[in-house]
């Protein structure tokens, strides 16, 4: 009984390590393939699929999140007569945490799942093997552009998310609830540091971009070539990406802002 349990635990552990190893090799080999000038067209097409098509969901969510944050900050801060600090709280929360994290989660749901399903179906219908037979390396032709597109698109989407969310916060906090516009902006400009808040947030976005596109591509490439296999792989992409984003975010925050004070 116990031995059986231990055995299964051992198998699961070894499978986990071998998956991680294969995923790392796959990532390294695919990243090596680009950028080559001949592949810019492929990259552009993927940027369209992954980035441009995600703009709508990003803009709508960003506006809603900025608006609701502003509402919450305003009602709580008004208790202390500090409603003019809404801008500070809004900008810091968005730039440091919510911008990269929420964009990453939405990106995993919107673009990561699509990448996995697409590559999984290519594998199931043996498009990948036929490419390899024709002497076209699917790593370079299919995987690499998606990895790069995800890595580039997520930071760009995060920039748009942050800007729109702050706009949403201004609409609710200043134009609707009536926080003072002057101290809203000046408080923000005094408190936000270009590197410490904005720059570090963008580094998070880049890390999440690498993680999500890596997980999505590997899950697609590794999917069991059946309908059920693709569905399971797509689910795993979203679940693993979300966990990876949230866990990595905690570690990054700890590293970046760990020495509280100063």
């Amino acid at each position: 009984m116990t031995r059986d349990y231990l055995r299964r635990l051992g198998i699961a552990g070894l499978t986990g390590f071998s998956n991680l190893g294969r995923a790392t090799v796959l990532w390294a080999r695919a990243m090596w393939g680009l950028p080559r000038w001949a592949d810019v067209g492929l990259l552009t097409r993927q940027m369209y699929q992954v980035g441009v098509q995600s703009i709508m969901i990003i803009v709508l969510s960003a506006f809603a999140i900025g608006a609701v944050l502003s509402l919450q900050f305003y009602t709580q801060l008004a208790n202390f007569g500090a409603q003019d600090s809404v801008g500070v709280g809004l900008a810091l929360v968005l730039l440091r945490e919510l911008g990269p994290v929420v964009t990453g989660l939405l990106f995993a749901g919107r673009a990561g799942s699509a990448i996995t399903a697409e590559i999984g179906l290519m594998k199931t219908t043996e498009q990948l093997s036929s490419m390899a037979m024709m002497g076209v390396d699917p790593l370079h032709r299919v995987l690499a552009p998606r990895l790069w597109a995800g890595m580039i698109s997520l930071p760009l989407l995060t920039l748009i998310f942050n800007a729109i969310a702050i706009f949403g916060g201004v609409v609710v906090g200043v134009h609707w609830l009536g926080a003072d516009e002057g101290s809203f902006w000046s408080g923000m400009q005094n408190a936000v540091d270009i590197w410490n808040d904005f720059g570090k947030g963008m580094i998070k976005a880049l890390v999440f971009g690498v993680l999500v596109s890596w997980i999505a591509v590997f899950q697609g490439y590794d999917a069991e070539p059946t309908a059920a296999g693709i569905s399971a792989a797509t689910t795993r992409t979203v679940v693993l990406s979300s966990i990876a984003i949230l866990a990595t975010d905690f570690v990054l925050t700890l590293g970046m802002y760990g020495n509280f004070g100063s």
Binding site: Y48, G51, I160, Q189, S262
Partner: protein, 152 residues
């Protein structure tokens, strides 16, 4: 979809992101491009600076005139040395200018208020302000109060 349409929309996407970045840098982070504003540095010694942070504002009569550039401690004297970065050129603040650590609102951030004096001699860059009043610490105030109550 035609390749050209895709290229145009990706281009627009990148352009939108760049606009967002400029907005976040200039409007939100308050980075100003162009000529760096002229500033000079003054020092001030305080017996207590609890709650004061770098980049806190320095004001005269509530109007921003600079920011806190650096805070470090002089262990031998048990005092804090605060470096102030004042906008403009030296020669406008008299040598008996006072500095006070104040609080915005009840829970607000700490900032420094300067009170220009009347002396004819002016502070030069790098000079130290000696007329200072440190931050009020609630525990010390309560301590004083309790001691006085005990004495009377």
């Amino acid at each position: 979809m035609r390749m050209r349409t895709i290229e145009i929309s990706v281009g627009a996407f990148v352009a939108a992101a760049i606009v967002a970045m400029v907005f976040l840098a200039v409007r939100v982070s308050g980075v100003s491009f162009g000529a760096e504003q002229e500033t000079y540095k003054l020092k001030a010694r305080f017996d207590e600076v609890a709650g004061l942070r770098r980049r806190a504002r320095v004001s005269i009569a509530g109007v921003n005139v600079g920011r806190v550039a650096d805070i470090h401690v002089d262990i031998a004297y048990g005092e804090a040395i605060v470096t102030l970065e004042i906008d403009g050129k030296p020669g406008e603040l008299s040598i008996d200018t006072g500095a006070k650590i104040l609080t915005e609102g009840i829970l607000g951030a700490r900032y420094i208020g300067l009170l220009p004096g009347a002396d004819e001699e002016m502070l030069e860059a790098g000079d130290t302000i000696s007329e200072t009043q440190g931050a009020l610490v609630l525990e010390n105030l309560i301590g004083d109060f309790v001691t006085r109550m005990g004495a009377s």
